[in-house]
């Protein structure tokens, strides 16, 4: 059963320029939340008719908190950043299918690929996979060193490969180029989230391998629950027949058309 509930902001901090971490406390269906799931957050101003989709970056069922990490890109995220600790926000979720990890074995070698605001859901995923005992490698890219976040979380859960466009930290170049420099490895699963270019790179690069590829997509959403047909994406047949909010946001990378 899907629920919406008022959760209280108990922390909000800047992780990097324009990147904020917000921690929400309160009732939430923690049991149903999986890595890759998202919530629809209602903005605290009546001019906004649409909730904002944000991935769950961390979950603490015992403390009853969820953590979101977002970039200020427009009016809604700007308002969110201005909202004070103590305020209530209405949260609808958890939503979406999440990354499929039920069948991952402890012996598997998995790769996580992310960039920019695609990184937050991978944080929760890395932890879940580590808990399963897998060998987790994460390759993430940022524009420049100042924008990096999540380093510690990924290092705690496996190996971290860092790239920055300007080389100010880690490999100089994008994640695709970084991966190209790595020794050939056999990943059983590749999970990616980030800009379309990054997802296409992952599709191409692992097309010839036996890895299962899972890509988490973004789309402009109205309902987030499969009611409006606003968020669709096309799969192999070319018609917009999949809703990112319910059949996604994670799709089989071998079927989805970007």
């Amino acid at each position: 059963m899907l629920t919406k509930s008022d959760m209280r902001i108990i922390a909000q901090e800047e992780l990097a320029p324009s990147i904020y971490r917000i921690v929400l406390y309160g009732k939430f269906d923690y049991a149903q939340a999986r890595p890759g799931c998202f919530v629809m957050l209602k903005l605290p101003d009546g001019t906004y008719q649409l909730r904002r989709p944000l991935a769950i970056a961390a979950l603490a069922p015992l403390q009853e908190t969820i953590t979101l990490i977002y970039r200020v890109v427009g009016d809604g995220t700007h308002l969110l950043q201005q909202t004070a600790v103590g305020a209530q926000l209405n949260i609808l979720g958890p939503l979406g299918n999440g990354f499929p990890i039920e069948n991952v074995e402890s012996t598997e070698n998995v790769l996580l690929v992310g960039g920019g605001t695609g990184v937050p859901p991978l944080m929760l995923l890395a932890q879940a996979l580590k808990d399963k005992g897998c060998k987790v490698t994460t390759a993430i890219g940022f524009r420049t060193a100042a924008l990096i976040f999540g380093e510690k979380e990924f290092e705690d859960n496996g190996q971290l490969l860092l790239a920055t466009d300007d080389g100010s930290k880690g490999f100089q170049g994008n994640v695709g180029q970084l991966l190209a420099t790595q020794p050939e490895q056999t990943y059983t699963k590749v999970y990616a989230c980030g800009p379309n270019g990054l997802l296409q790179m992952v599709q191409t690069r692992f097309a010839g391998t036996t890895a299962e590829i899972y890509l988490s997509l973004e789309s402009r959403m109205a309902c987030g629950v499969g009611a409006c047909e606003g968020c669709v994406v096309s799969t192999k047949d070319g018609t917009y027949n999949k809703r990112v909010c319910v059949e996604g946001p994670v799709f089989n990378g071998r079927e989805v058309r970007l």
Binding site: C223, G226, C228, E229
Partner: protein, 315 residues
Amino acid sequence: MTAASRLAVELPGLNLKNPVMPASGCFGFGDNRYAEMFDLNELGAIIIKAATLKPRAGNPVPRIAETTSGVLNAVGLQNPGVDVILREKLPVLHQKYPTLPVVANIAGATQAEYVEVAKRMSASGMVSALELNISCPNVHEGGMLFGTDPQIAQQLTKAVKEVSQVPVYVKLSPNVTDIVAIAQAVAAGGADGLSMINTLLGMRIDLNSRKPILGNKTGGLSGPGIKPIAVRMIYQVSRAVDLPIIAMGGIESAADVLEMYMAGASAVAIGTAHFNNPTACPDIIKALPSKMEDLKINSLSELIAEVRGGYPNDD
């Protein structure tokens, strides 16, 4: 008067325990996760997503853009086609909620298509009424044209009425100079009721790309920002045409519902409000009785009689 009968309303084909229904396109065929959040049996009825003869893939994404107190959508009538709807969607809905009245929104690119969809849909035994969508701003053929020319609208209504086994509500477009003329035309065509308003044609431009945000460029504007336009049109039409009106356009609260009744409505539909508040419909249904009490409204059917009976005198 019992709480139940205060909210009950009777419209052609629609014997409703309360007047609140999700608007077409904002609740799919009931096959979405909003349905996990409350019992759909609480609804007065449900209006399902537009059905066309053939499956439609809809418009390219982005299909959704936000505006100040509004939403633009350009879904473009994506649907699996009337036959799949009748085979896969409606039976599920009907089985889960056997007493929930269903209003089927139907659309087409030609009159023949409308007629065919109306025939199949109305013969299914699973729908209580049709909502003839002559006002979709998001498709290039047909769609809105049927709703802007009175003569075409009248012909289409007549043709659909001839084949339909259930009452027909015609959903009017607000993108016209004279909404009353269109309403009169479809009344002359034999419509059993009206449904208004559909979305207003709008656009947003992305400042970075300098291009329209929506894949379809323009989209239909809905939400609380358009409510005053809906109220005005319902007021004008209800004074000129003796047909019940299902009102929609920015309704968010019990107060908004009553404002629509005072304009001339007989029932209401809720679209955009779901996006902020997934339980908008049951919340409004729950809030109505006490709001009515505050305003000394005994029952909705009395309010309809007062408002629509008072017309000869109040202008």
